[in-house]
Symmetry: C2
């Protein structure tokens, strides 16, 4: 009943995409279950090496014969000064000590060249492994990359947070656009306007984007159930991309203390922060965000800050301590449940059906 | 076709409320046309004297025999120091000079006592004139006020920006709650959490509120057409309250340069500012907001700053200069049209009907 141009183009049963969540959440089990349930599972590969990507694609293909996708971070130039690193480390070292992290002061920070090279290699693996769908965030890849993917029959999806960005995604030749509302958890995908200027709620964003592009629009941000799906379709989207709803599922690789934090959170407890990665992202406010709050504007850019906080996040996780973990979440944590992917799909589809018959 | 418990309770044809916009926008003509079209028109009476309210109610009753409402600001304690006033005036005086305002340095600032007294008198007029519906923003009125209104068969509506606030509105005995999403233009109605913590997009806010209260929920923020209405109903709201969409209507009392500013604005050009009134509100960024930006946190509270900027807004308006006007707008200005209320209703109802039949 929910078939449309989007489901046809992506060769899926229902217009539901599992958002690419980087950092170990999108296990093959999660992605495979979503694709098997008739949605589109996506591997969040932003932080993965080309080899890890190849391995997971092959593992995933054992679990599903349905379509699936992979998501990459579009690399952007970045720069930092020694002083920025010193200041950031002054803030982070007491936390490292508290968590008993034995890390020298010389943390390896990737160079711009390395980041761009990794991206090129990631793209090559995706082409070699014939991944059906490739989606991007943090910007628009080069014309060469987009056309190479399309020549290899890979369906290409971009991410936008404003009308102008969505128009640029369409102009670049990408096949579909995910519009990320201000409700969304995790990193902001804005690449033209500042983060603050591009925090548009989906009720406003979807219809205004739909009026300005011809490619299918996918709504993302705070959508957790059949109500959000049907509302997005009313606003003119062809489908939804859901992150938090899948993150708390049994099959997701998120740490159980992370899942618990979301399930017990309220809608007014998430904030936007640069503290973890240097790039604005929405997550549940915890001790780390609180401690870094007054230094937000002086922290190094992505991916520098991300490299500096890596050991802290890792130690916090292995010590079952949610205080220093990035607890990315959208604005609808009250709707999150710890359930199977199959159950989540069943609930959504039943709700959607009941609304259609009203 | 759109009848439900909300339309029944409010004795209206369609689940569409015209948001109370204070400051001369909600002319009797606008409010009357909305009520005549089958929605609920509301007089934005926050800044009106009891006498002005009485006059407009009587004028309005000549224009419609349908139900209508009135909206008041719930008064809150406020305080200020001489130094705050001096600092604010230092920022404002150059602008007053530029606009050739002949105003002495001693601007009359209302006292807390006066504000509370005015509120009591406003309530009395509403009761005496048998207004069918009274809605509130900026908090919850006293038990005595709510019960007096209800004893006089006046239907009482509250405003909330979070689940917790909506629960408090229900507990207070009010009959219905407007949930204001982060998309909304004009003043924020938050009264428990800070403004920043209570900026929840409607896609997240509506379903989470609906799951926690039993009174009907009205969605407000960025809703401009049939798509927004139907999406809100999918999310569990019983109806919508639209501001910006009515503000640009022919019948609204907004200055034509204000209407023009909205019609030419984009979704990423509104910001939250305390610059005009001392209370956070969403409007189109202009010169005044820009100039005050770095002083946001030190400006006096509402209604003190509002009193200090009054002559500036007035002069800017009479000089057809949008630079120093408060251009309140939600995040969907691209969907705004200069059309009659009747035409707006027709379009919404046609869109809604077409969606229902899909």
């Amino acid at each position: 009943m929910l078939k449309n141009k989007m489901t046809e183009l992506l060769k899926i049963e229902y217009p539901i995409i599992q958002a690419p969540m980087a950092g170990g959440i999108t296990t093959s089990n999660l992605v495979g279950e979503v694709s098997n349930a008739g949605g589109l599972g996506i591997i969040g590969a932003g932080y993965m090496t080309p080899n890890q990507i190849r391995e997971q694609i092959r593992e995933l293909k054992q679990l599903t014969s349905n379509s699936f996708g992979i998501n990459l971070f579009v690399p952007n130039e970045f720069a930092y000064t020694e002083n920025e690193i010193i200041s950031a480390n002054e803030l982070l070292q007491p936390i490292r000590n508290q968590l008993h992290i034995n890390e020298g002061p010389n943390i390896e920070i990737p160079t711009c060249g390395q980041v761009f090279e990794t991206f090129t290699e990631q793209i090559q693996v995706i082409i070699e492994e014939s991944v059906p769908v490739c989606s991007f965030t943090f910007g628009i890849p080069s014309e060469a990359v987009i056309s190479e993917l399309k020549q290899n029959n890979i369906f290409v999806i971009g991410t936008a947070t404003t009308v102008e960005e969505a128009i640029e995604v369409e102009k670049s030749g990408m096949d579909m656009v995910v519009v990320q509302g201000s409700e969304a958890g995790g990193h902001r995908g804005n690449f033209i306007r500042s983060t603050q200027d591009s925090l548009i709620g989906l009720m406003s964003l979807i219809p205004q984007v739909v009026d300005h592009v011809s490619i299918p629009v996918i709504a993302a941000g705070g959508i957790m159930d059949g109500r959000g799906l049907m509302a997005s379709l009313c606003l003119g989207a062809m489908g939804v991309q859901m992150g938090t709803a899948f993150l708390t599922c049994i099959e997701s690789g998120a740490h159980h203390i992370y899942k618990e934090a979301i399930i017990h959170a309220k809608e007014d407890q998430t904030v936007l922060t640069r503290a973890f990665s240097g790039k604005y992202a929405r997550g549940i406010k915890n001790k780390f965000i609180d401690e870094m709050e007054k230094h937000e504007d002086s922290l190094p850019d992505f991916p520098v800050q991300n490299a500096l906080t890596q050991s802290i996040r890792k130690a916090s996780s292995s010590q079952q301590n949610p205080d220093y973990l990035s607890l990315w979440s959208g604005q609808s944590p009250r709707l999150a449940k710890n359930q199977s992917v199959k159950m989540l799909f069943q609930t959504i589809l039943t709700e959607a059906k009941n609304m259609k018959n009203k």
